[in-house]
Structure formats: C-alpha cells, structure tokens
Amino acid sequence: MGFPTADKADICLLLEGTFPFVSGGVSSWVNQMIRGFPEYTFACCFIGSRPEDYGSMKYELPPNVVHLETHYLHNFKRGAEKRPMKGDTSAYQQVGKFHELVKSGKNTEQKVAMFESMVGQLGDGKALSEDSFLRSRASWEYISRCYREQSRDPSFVDYFWTVRIMHSPIWALNEIADNLIPAKMYHTISTGYAGFLGALLKRRTGRPLLLSEHGIYTKERKIDLFQSEWISDNRGLVEKNNAEMAYFREKWVNFFSELGKQCYLAADEIVALYERNRERQVTDGAPAERTHNIPNGVDLPRFAAVREARGNDVPKVACLIGRVVPIKDVKTFLRSMRTVVNEIPDAQGWIAGPQDEDPEYVKECQGLVASLGLDKNVTFLGFQKIDELLPKVGVLVLSSISEALPLVILEGFAAGVPTVSTDVGSCRQLIEGLGAEDEALGKAGDVVGIADPEALGKAVTRLLTDRPAWDAAQQAGIRRVEALYTQELMFASYRNLYEGLMAKSAESVAEVGKLKGHS
C-alpha cells in the first residue's frame, strides 16, 4: 500500500528517524499530537539514513495525515552530473566569510543574511549547486586553501572527503525543500538534519517554523562523535596533544552545532520539555525570548482503566520499557537485577521494547544475562502493548544515561506503577517533584546515579519489599500526573502555539499578496 499524498497540508511535520517508522517515546508523542489535533491536516516528511535501516511502519497513520514522504540522506545514488566546471569564485569567498562568522560564534544579522543568500544559491545551475561544490575549480581551490590554513590533520585526502561527505546532505535537504508540498507552517521535532530542513523551508517560504525538542540533538550527536571510532586521527605520536580533539571529530561536532544553531535562529517558537533543556537550548544559540517549556502529558482516562486492571498484590516484577539500545543502558538494569535477585530470588526483570535497532547490543545484553546467571529471572519481551503490560508490573525501571521527559514514566504513574530511575533529564523532577507544592505530593519512586547497578538494584528491592512505601509512591505518582502532566494541558499549550503561528502564516500570505497587487 502506498503512502497518502496530497497537494497541501496545514502542518508539515519534519521527522528525523522517528514516527512512523521507528517506535519509541518521541514517535508516541508525535502520534499523540496528530490525533490530538483532528482539526488540522498533517503532512509527514520522514528523513532517515538508508532505506534498509528501517522496517515497515510501526504506527497506523491517523486519518488527518494527508501526506507522507520518505527521504534517505545516506542514499548516495543521487549524485550530481559528472563534468568539471570553473565555478563561481566569489560565491566560495562568501562561503569562506560565512564560515569565519560561524567560527567567531556570534549570531549577527550579517550571518543570518549570508545564510539566506547562500540558501538561495544551492539549486541546480546556481553558484553553490551540488555540481559546483563537487566538481568546480573554485570549490577545489576553496577546500584546499581551507586545508592549508586550518587543518590540524596531515591527511588532505581525509580532509577532502570529510568535507564532501559532511556537506552532501545539505543538497539532499535542499532538494527535499524544493519538492515538499506547501504547508501553512512547519513543525520539526528535532534540530539536526530535520531542523536544518526546517530552517531552509522557513528562509524560502517565509512560513512559520516550530521546533519541539525532546532530547537535545546536538548534545547527543556530540557525545556519539566523542566516542565514535570511525573518525580518523592521522596525527603522529609527537604531533598529538591528548587534550585536543582529533581535527575531524571537532569538525563534525562543529557541523552539527551549526545545523542546530541555524534551526534555532530560524524557528519562530522553540519548545523544550523542561527547564534544564530550555536553558541548554539558549546556551546552544536559541534566542531566549522564543523558548518555552511544554511538558509531555498523558491520556488520564485511558490509564485509569489500566490502573483498574491491577490486582491488589505488587507483582515482583521490575520492568524496563524502552528500545534495547545503548542509550537506555539496559546492561545496568540487568546488573541491577543481580542485586534484586540476591534479595528476592523469585523477582523478575522484564525488558519490553523493540530489539531491531541495534542487534549487536541486544546480543551483548543477552550474553550478560547468561553470565550473571539470570536466565530464569530476566525476559526480553520485545514490543508490548503498554496497556496490557503495566498491570503486571511492580516497578518501572529507567536506567538510561540520557533522557528528556520520558512519557513512559508518566504513563506508569497514571497506571499506578512507581518508577526507579537514573538521575537524567527531568526524571528527578517527575519522581520527587519540583518546587514546594510539587514536592509535597510525595516521592513517586526513587532516583539513583547513572551506571550504578547496585544502587538501582537496592532501590528496586526496597520498593518491591516495602508495601507501605510502594503504596505511598503509587499515590504520589497518580497525584503528580493528574495535577501537572495531563494531555489536556499539553494540547492547550500547543493549540496556542499552532493558532498563533497559523495566524502569522496567514499574515505573511496576505503581505505577499499585497506586494504582488502593488507590483
């Protein structure tokens, strides 16, 4: 069955590696949002790495999704025409000046104007076309000059190809922007490539751009890049300063930081899930006056029914709900189960989440279960329907090393399940409360440090064996989610934003119409 297509939509969602092809917290949120606004039509523009990295759709498309298109940035079959050309030296001089401004770290008007001008020259036959970047003498001379002046790595070949590969998605995104159906506004769920596409679209169409950032994309990329082993460092032993990042690593980090910055600068409104992430966005270049906090919210009636399905006993089950990927640190959960089982021999540890994203990691986790002697206590359940799973769970466990405001904790609270979580993102705020009023609602579980299996195991054991403490935590969770994290509160905040931006969009159309009328 093909994807739905339309020639226009109210809101175009820019989705990088998420809904509807990848399941997880962000995808669930996107699904929830689309269904929460049936009065608007949505177009979904999915951006992925390669087609083979994704399976079939993990979500049934809501009826108000009128258009879905998919694009893969690492599908190198596109390619520009293979012919040498002279190129426009002045255009590359402008690129050089832009890079100087990027390096200075200042967000000046001049930089914004330059970006807008460069974006206009990316198309075929223009001064900064892909063909010109890949095959013109002007481009070659610019790249080799940059290498001589800036590179701290002795390999020109690596430099040349790094620059080419790093920038190639820009033209792919430009092509997507060229062909995307018109929308009244754009809504990107991350910075990165999708965010940059949003910036391109905003600069071209003048239509408003809304950014809702769950995790901080730039930060996560930066950590990936710090740890990655595929980036070469050709410096010899004596050239190396181990406090200095490998040149290419630094180059990639800067590239993603700049992509993020361009998205922040172009966005009309910027949403974070909680205050610390909002502050981070401002530090990373987001204009503070455009930032807001809108926490996630859950569908309370739905989860009240799930709560009803629970029995009176607390099942001796600790459950991690999430994809089996390194960022969830499933290994720490498994190790913590050793501590739990030492105290409660019949305790069960469940991992409920898709296992297709990182098969190597899944294998490592399964090996760890065997080596910890937990074969009888730990089960990998795969993807589960949360409504059916939560009534069988005693404690929800989140061992992640990075999170924002995990929807799963709120869903657990609403379903009457306390949580033990690592101290990441807003988990402490969710479990212990933020501010006197919130804290007075009580602790809905426990918070421990990251990568500390023993503390995690002890906290889980405590909750599973201390019934009064468990009851208190359950009640605190229910009270907190009912007071602060309802779907209605979230939708109301977004309705304000959508309506404001739609009005802005209509104004800009009227403005353009007026100008055309005069001319």
Binding site: R148, P154, Q227
Partner: protein, 335 residues
Amino acid sequence: MSNLKLLFYAISSEIASLMLLLSDDTSVAYFIVYLLAHALASGLMSVVAWRFLPARFRTPKMLSLLLIFGFAFFIPAIGLLTLLIGIVVGVWLPAIFRDRPFSLVGEPYYTPVQAASSSSFRQIDIQSLLSSPDSPDALRMQGMLVLKDMPARVTGKVLRESLGDRYEDVRLLSYGILDLKEKTITRDIDRLLQLLERAKSSRRYGLARRLAELYWELTYQDLVRGDIRKLTLEKAAFYADMALMEAPQDAGLWVLRGRIQLAQGSVGEAQQSLVFSRRLGLSANQVNPWLAEIAMERRQFSLVRRLMGEISDNSQFTHLNKSVEYWRGHGLSHR
C-alpha cells in the same frame, strides 16, 4: 592467458602454417593441416587484437571477433601482419600523442596548524579541574579527553565521580569512556567462553588462564563494583582454578590466584597461593609486594620489613621503590 603469450602462439602457428603451405607436399591432408594451423593463428590473433580495440568497437562481442577473424583468415600472412602492426600502432601512437589530464605539481608539503591558543589545555590536576565548580565546561570536557586515553585503573575513580557531574556532557562522556573500556574486555571474554566450550583439552589451559586474567582485569581496572565485582572475582577464581588443574606448576598463575583471593578478602588463602608461587621459583621482586601487603594487614611489621628488604633495587615496580626505601630505612633505625 596474457596478450603477449597469445601473440607468441599466434605468430608461431602462422609461421608453421606458412611452412606447411610452402612445402613440396601438395596432398589434401597437408592443406587441411595448413588451414587448421592458419585458423588457430587467426583465432588467437583475433582475441589479442579484440582486446586492444577501444571499448566502443568491442560490441557486439561475437560479431566484432568474427570480423577480425575474417580479416586474418582470408588474407593469409598479410592479414595477420597487418593486425600486428595495427596493434602496435594502436597502442603506442595514442600513448605518444595523448593529452594527459595531469600536470606536474610540486612536492606535497604539510605545515601542521596549531590549535587556537585559547583552547589549549592547561596542565593542571585533572581531578581538581573536573570537580571545580568554577572551571568552564569546555575545559572540563577537554580534561575528559585526556582521561579517555589513560588506563582505567588510574582514572576509574575520577570517571566514576564524573558520572554524577552537573554538566550532562561530562556525565555522558565519562559513562562512554568507562563503558568502552568494559566492553572491550567483555567482548574478549565472550569470545573466549565460546572457544572454551568447544576447545580440545590441550587448549583448555590457555583459554582458562586468559579468562581468569580478563575477569581479573575487570576488577583491577575498577570497571565493576558491588555485587557484580563479587561475581566477577568468583569467575576469575573459577577460571584460575581451572587453569591450575591443567598446569599446577604455573607460578605466575598462582600469583594471580593469590591476588584474586586477596581481593575477595581471603587473606590466608591468598598468602598460601603467593608463598606457593615463590616455591615454584618466582623471585621476591615479583611476589613480595603482595605478601608484604598481607603482613601489613595483619600488622606484622617485622615481616613487612623482611619481605620488603628482600626486594632488590632493580625491581620492576618502580613506584614501589619509595616504599622499599622506607622499610629498609625503618629497619635500620630500629637495629
């Protein structure tokens, strides 16, 4: 077969066929043999000539080959000669006049570009840098990069403290560093466990010894803690015992066994293992530091003095020299 060989066979066959043709014998059989030899020469020549054709003339393959073969076969001797000249001219002439898309460039040179001085890392104590609330986050991240390349045994404590850092990037990076180090060892363990499962008895000793070392490494590098540390030490002891069953004379393994027992808190057993390793021939330099540690734990200071005194000056434990000096001095002052 190479073109040169084919060419040689083609020319030889053609010469042979010409000799047959020019011989006095005029029988039909001789003529047929001539035709066969000439056909062979033409065939071989066709293959060589076809290979030298520009790509656009090589298709369709069969027809193109047939055309060359016809030329060579129906014009005896001269056809072949013409093809030969054609090949030579076709290969050499364009090579002489080809306008190469290359030009002479100067020797490559590279002058390393220094990083901006503002981002250079000051040589200060990393631990205080990381824990100081006044240090800029960018500088602390640089500090983490230094830790990345240092042995986990030395950096384990700092990295673990950084897991609770106020700045998330530092937390994530320290997690990543610890995780990578742990993963490297765990992968080796998994691989060896698989090998051990299907190993012949002759290989079991080596594999078990390596497994004991790897499990020990996890605890020695401070990569596992709490219940998992306990479990890891049990595994290290299990594989050390397995290896010792196969090779009870392995003195080095007895030292490892002793150190594992020491980490497990079995001081008496550790002492026995270490003493046994000495009996098997290991020097005082290699074993006495651990024996001295046990004696120290038991507050047997004179024994510590004696054990440390036995360590020679050229001990491999350079960081131990100060302790050795101290105990020797201490011993003298009490004499």
